[in-house]
């Protein structure tokens, strides 16, 4: 019983991290139709930045949350630069987009290896969230529960942004029909920059939040990217609800798969995605077929 419950909590925690990663990916994919293969790298870059700020490698120690926000802002700026300078030139050219995003992910991975070396870097758990909480016979690490809370907060914030603000309405219009959105006077190209920076920022934030659980190591980017991809395909691109449901499903499948069927864990993970693509190509909550 304890085993199952702990597994469930871990699943939801991992799902929460995946949601933070995939939400931005989904928005970028949904609005810009760009397979952003740098997304794993942005996650890793954020995690390394966070580890640096928290660990005091710059000569001063930052508070965990300040570090997370700083990392998110830095990576968001980096994302905006990528979008402005490179992706902007390549509308609709999928192969060029794949080439350039993969190229950047190579550069980022090597940059991280150069700066932080090959050894895993741990991100210290924030002081207030160290330890565990006792609920009846069960003991849960507080931090893992806190991650779930953070994801819920981010999800609500994103929902408010997308559903209740003018910017959100413009983004939704852009996702549904970019050409028509342009015709009615929405500057879709500026939306692209905003959305790409936003997605990059959330990914980096997720990297810092995930740091204490995953630790940061070279190869984290290639580990996270396919997971984000599966979530988006499963849930449907451009849909926030899809990201939430998709990341929970993948979180559960991944953790239960690892625990119960370790030999076929990845098979279990990718199988539902293949099924969804076959039966419902737009994903569970998607608005269009990619």
């Amino acid at each position: 019983m304890t085993f199952w419950l702990l597994l469930t909590v871990n699943s939801i925690t991992f799902g929460s991290l995946l949601f933070l990663l995939a939400a931005g990916f989904s928005l970028i994919f949904g609005l810009m139709r760009i397979p952003n293969l740098t997304h794993g790298s942005l996650f890793m870059l954020g995690a390394y930045f966070g580890a640096t700020f928290v660990g005091g490698m710059l000569g001063m120690m930052f508070n965990f949350w300040v570090a997370a926000v700083m990392a998110a802002l830095l990576v968001a700026a980096f994302g905006a630069v990528i979008e402005r300078l490179l992706l902007r030139r390549l509308p609709g050219q999928q192969m060029a987009q794949v080439l350039v995003t993969l190229g950047i992910s190579f550069i980022v991975a090597d940059f991280c290896l150069m700066v932080w070396g090959g050894d895993p870097v741990a991100v210290a758990t924030p002081d207030t969230l160290v330890g565990s909480v006792r609920l009846g016979p069960m003991i849960f690490p507080i931090y893992r529960i806190a991650v779930i809370g953070i994801a819920v907060v981010v999800a609500i914030a994103l929902w408010l942004l997308l559903d209740r603000t003018r910017l959100g309405a413009m983004i939704r219009a852009g996702v549904d029909d970019p050409d028509m959105a342009r015709v009615v006077g929405i500057r879709v190209s500026r939306l692209f920059t905003i959305v790409f920076a936003l997605g990059a920022g959330i990914a980096a934030f997720a990297g810092v939040i995930g740091g204490p659980i995953l630790t940061v190591y070279p190869g984290l980017d290639q580990y996270m990217l396919p997971l984000a991809l599966v979530v988006v395909i499963l849930g449907g691109s451009g849909s926030l609800l899809g990201s939430v449901v998709g990341s929970l499903i993948i979180g559960v499948l991944y953790n239960f798969g690892q625990a119960l069927l370790p030999e076929l864990a990845y098979f279990v993970l990718f199988l539902p995605m293949v099924l969804v693509l076959l039966l419902r190509p737009q994903g569970l909550f998607g608005r269009f077929i990619p």
Partner: protein, 330 residues
């Protein structure tokens, strides 16, 4: 046309004499690598370049053939059996791949092939009873076709070269065949092709199968060259590199994937000996290619060459044409 044939002959002579002018066995091995990666890239190019179907999971297919050959050799089967079954296994998995992924095109195709590739990677990594997990499978011998030992770098190079030339001929014939033309039609105008009565799905499926055959051949060469296979050979980075070979060289051209394969292999194995940050260099090269030659190195160079030629040509033509123009105006 004449210059083309001369260039082709020169390239052929250069390839055949590689063991005589390359400085050392190491560089002969690098050339062998370029050749079998070029076969792999040519196979992927049929889909990505001529079919417009960008597959980001092709290393998984290469891995299936390579693993099949390695597993059978390890289990004590002979080389002919291992090679034939490896090719068949590659084709069968390509058929499954195609049936699943051809339901979509565009980004959907990229995503689903990526997922399929990751499934194969996951199996290679975790299904330890078959694949020996992260430790991989060693292959202790190379085949001896017609009694020639392929143990030395030179002998293996010539065997790879023969296979490579055969593959090039196959691809050339395919591209110039009606099926090849139909495939390019489905890339550019799928709906129009459908309306004209072509079975778009079937054309794409057979293109997949040819691509799968070349990939399987490359997989067998890969496992014999390295005499080792591990999950690293089938991971996302490997698939991405294959795609980068195709796109950087020039998708939808015959020469492009070969140039791309040479570029990637040389940066990975030769330049990495001199520059520690070769991965960064490779990434930077790709970004630069996208900015300055978005169509790829081979078509891009051809374009620049033509441009330079025309500039040179017109400046001469202008001198010659000026009097006659003046005459016409009068």
């Amino acid at each position: 046309m004449k210059t083309r044939i001369i260039a082709l002959l020169l390239a052929l002579v250069a390839l055949v004499t590689v063991p005589y002018w390359m400085p050392g066995a190491y560089y002969i091995n690098v050339t062998s690598q370029i050749l079998f990666y070029a076969i792999f890239a040519l196979g992927l190019n049929i889909l990505a370049g001529y079919g417009g179907l960008v597959s980001l999971g092709h290393a998984g297919l290469l891995g299936i053939s390579a693993y099949a050959a390695a597993y059978l050799l390890h289990a004590g089967f002979g080389h002919p059996v291992a090679i034939i079954i490896a090719l068949i296994a590659g084709l069968i998995s390509m058929a499954v791949y195609a049936v699943l992924s051809l339901r979509t095109t565009g980004i959907g195709f990229i995503m689903i092939t990526l997922a399929l590739g990751e499934i194969i990677w996951g199996l290679a990594y975790r299904w330890i009873s078959i694949t020996n997990g992260d430790n991989g499978i060693n292959v202790h011998s190379r085949p001896m076709p017609f009694g020639f030992s392929l143990a030395s770098p030179t002998a293996f190079y010539y065997a790879t070269l023969v296979v490579f030339l055969v593959c090039i001929v196959i691809v050339t014939i395919f591209v110039r065949s009606p099926l090849g033309a139909a495939l390019m039609g489905t890339r550019d105008q799928p709906r129009r092709m459908n309306a004209l009565g072509y079975h778009v799905w079937a054309i794409r499926f057979w293109a997949c199968m040819l691509s799968g055959l070349l990939t399987a051949i490359a997989g067998v060469l890969f496992v014999y060259y390295n005499q080792f296979i591990s999950p690293q050979a089938v991971d996302l980075t490997a698939s991405a590199e294959a795609l980068l070979m195709v796109i950087s060289g020039g998708a939808g051209t015959l020469l492009g994937p070969i140039v791309g394969a040479a570029l990637v292999v040389i940066v990975k194995s030769v330049v990495s000996g001199f520059i520690e940050r070769w991965n960064m260099l490779l990434g930077a090269i790709f970004v630069v290619i996208v900015i300055f030659m978005p169509e790829g190195l081979v078509p891009g160079t051809a374009r620049l060459w033509r441009l330079a030629w025309r500039q040179f040509g017109t400046s001469r033509d202008d001198d010659a044409a000026a009097p006659s123009k003046a005459g016409a105006e009068q």
